[in-house]
Symmetry: C2
Subunit: 429 residues, 2 copies
């Protein structure tokens, strides 16, 4: 192993970039001991050179652009922390690979959309792309899946991978507030992205899931195959009713392999409140991995923020310094499979909230439609009401989403529904 | 990277060895894809050649002894799964290193007692020793600490690392049984080691803690410095009383760095029942890592068993196949520090159970002694009683074990105690 310094160039000095610089400045001797060689930050770049970032950058060269930084002859690793699925992030990473640099990035959107092409380019160039910080912040879940559990056939990966959504959902429950109220709070506190639908629509978390699924199942990353459903339509009523039945609502990502193919979804789900996922509060993330030998492994930690994300970036840099060279998605890019897409093929229990008109036999009519669709009822709860309609909660036995959708379609013919039914999958973990 | 087969020799075909052979047989193509080269099991050895282990060993050479296997010219990696802190395990590993083999082992006792010497020998020989399976079974916690969180200064590592003890404690609580009753149950079910005090005395878990502490703090492994206290003296009464106050009792390992040195202990502790550790049921293990950048990372999974432990062994083998070569404890052995030992220097709240004689002013007398020692009371609960003595529970504010021990010593002068006090540290996680 070489003992010369590993020379770094960092593009992007926002929260994550600043965090990485701070770690490099604070832990020089420790990092040298762990890597067996020094890490040397050579040059940086960002949108504005003059902005005060609260860190001393005087020891580093300033590059005029990401492309210029990425191709400097005096760096070994190009650390891309600008973000964005196209534009400068993408072009500079390609330039870096072509110039013989290894790449470390936190850019999940870029890899979720262009990961296969980038992985192939990296391998053609004999370089590596690492992205631990792209998934679940400080939790070393990419490493766990790619390396720590590499002796397993993975059967399922699931988790809560967007802290903002989990914050909103747990805050709604704790404070009894509506989605709109908590959304406004989160916005006032600066928790939301410029485009908040990236978070609340499940897109950001969907990118992460697509990356984990690729590693777990040896598949080409296929973000388009992720069924996305955001949390915008979750009501405080559903949260409270679910709690009555012993469940919590989470924006849950699930990637599962079955005989029909690879199922990927990022949707609100109910989970048992006593499960590790059910007990996950606030902005924390959790990744749950089921393997044929290891059983269930649960990883939990901060999913965002300066320190945790920088910690993950450092782990990739340290791996490169130590000489670990893995294909981007754990297997050579040309061996990654084009897996057929399976849509929620695995039966599950469902939570169903109906608003029934106060008519004789109303409940019997919808129950009959469920029975016609072959769906049996595990638990049912009817709530008192002062209005012309009454809420009814049903937890079904295991069924498919297709069967449930058919039954829900048939409900309309009964004329007893006061509102559209709400159906949420229950994921047993 | 080489693409020739990585040739393995496995010594020990008990639960773990059998599990490794099964994975190698089941997942050949998958492992080849992940490693970029085939893994080839060349030869095995165990105490009895003729025993039926339920696996087909006909494709492998049988070595007459561990030493013979370890030095075969046709293996690259010697996989030691016999166990035992001395004898054949130790001698064969040294022989393997001297013969230029890398070593993978699940042997925590060996490494906890002789880790420094073995690490030095490995580095002198330019070989690696890996031991993911030695700590917390299937949980990739050695990798998380050595690699995934290598950008952090670690401030504390703690966890439940002995599934048998956690099974006994949760079973006592769930079934309302005494320690002796559950111990007998566990014995009947075959859960206990030949020498059960390795588990119940905290020795096995203490070995694991010493290994994690070495990695976390860059220290020479120092098992003798681990303060050990087993679970044999935990009563159902303490479990129930602790539950009344919102706590669970766990055999908890804690390694923490402070200005005074490295504190290592494996002792029964109270943890909040709502914490991830408090909710850990049965034989599951949990490792909690606090880092200065990542914050708190929690890892949870099966701590023992054929599949989980074999999964961890495979991860080490795969790392070697992929060319990852790290020093045994994450830093070169000669750089590991001889850290001063600190004993429970960090103040904590304590749970105190007293059996007070039914005398006027009894409670006031012990409260005064606590006050004299500078210990203030957070919560106190006196239970009804039919006997000549009454149980009193006290949760103190933060204090040191030394101060508490002095106060407890002073209690005896009051003449109001009907039994020796029970004091258990409360670890806030």
């Amino acid at each position: 192993m070489t003992t010369s310094a590993l020379r770094l160039g960092i593009a992007g000095l926002g929260t994550v970039g600043r965090g990485v610089v701070k770690i490099l400045q604070a832990h020089g001797p420790l990092l040298t001991a762990r890597c067996g060689r020094p890490l040397e930050l050579v040059a940086v770049t960002a949108q504005s050179k003059d902005k005060d970032r609260g860190i001393d950058l005087s020891a580093y060269d300033w590059a005029d652009s990401a492309d210029a930084l990425a191709t400097r002859p005096d760096i070994d690793v190009y650390v891309e922390l600008m973000g964005g699925s196209d534009g400068a992030a993408r072009s500079s990473i390609m330039a870096a690979l072509d110039a013989g640099k290894d790449v470390v990035t936190a850019n999940k959107a870029l890899l979720a959309l262009h990961g296969q092409a980038l992985a192939e380019r990296a391998e053609d160039a004999g370089r590596v792309i690492r992205f631990e910080a792209g998934v679940a912040g400080g939790i070393p879940c990419v490493k766990a899946l790619t390396e720590g559990l590499a002796g397993n056939e993975i059967t399922r990966v699931l988790g809560v991978m967007n802290g903002t959504c989990n914050y909103i959902l747990t805050r709604m429950q704790d404070a009894g507030l509506s989605y709109d109220e908590v959304f406004q709070e989160a916005s006032d506190l600066g928790y939301l992205e410029a485009d908040p639908t990236l978070d609340t629509g499940g897109i950001d978390a969907g990118h992460k899931l697509a990356l984990l699924a690729s590693i777990a199942f040896g598949a080409k990353v296929d973000f388009d195959a992720v069924r996305l459903e955001g949390i915008e339509r979750i009501t405080i009523e559903d949260i409270d009713r679910a709690a009555d039945m012993g469940f919590r609502i989470k924006l849950l990502g699930v990637a599962r392999m079955s005989g029909r193919g690879l199922e990927q979804r990022m949707t609100p789900c109910l989970v048992p409140e006593s499960s590790p996922l059910g007990q996950l509060e606030g902005a924390t993330n959790m990744v749950v991995i089921d393997g044929d030998a290891c059983g269930q492994i649960v990883l939990r930690g901060a999913g965002a923020g300066e320190g945790p994300t920088a910690s993950a970036v450092m782990s990739d840099i340290i791996d490169i310094a130590r000489g670990l060279r893995l294909p981007t998605f754990g297997q050579p890019a040309h061996m990654l499979a084009d897996l057929p897409r399976a849509h929620a093929s695995v039966p599950a229990p469902y939570y169903l909230r109906l608003e029934l008109l106060d008519k004789p036999g109303a409940l019997a009519k919808v129950a009959a439609k469920l029975g016609d669709a072959g769906i049996s009822i595990d638990r049912m709860r009817q709530y008192g009401h002062a209005e012309a309609s009454a809420p009814v909660l049903i937890v079904t036995h295991k069924t498919t989403r297709d069967a449930l959708d058919h039954a829900i379609e048939d409900f309309s013919a009964t004329g007893v529904l006061a509102a559209d039914p709400v159906a949420i999958r229950i994921e047993m973990v």
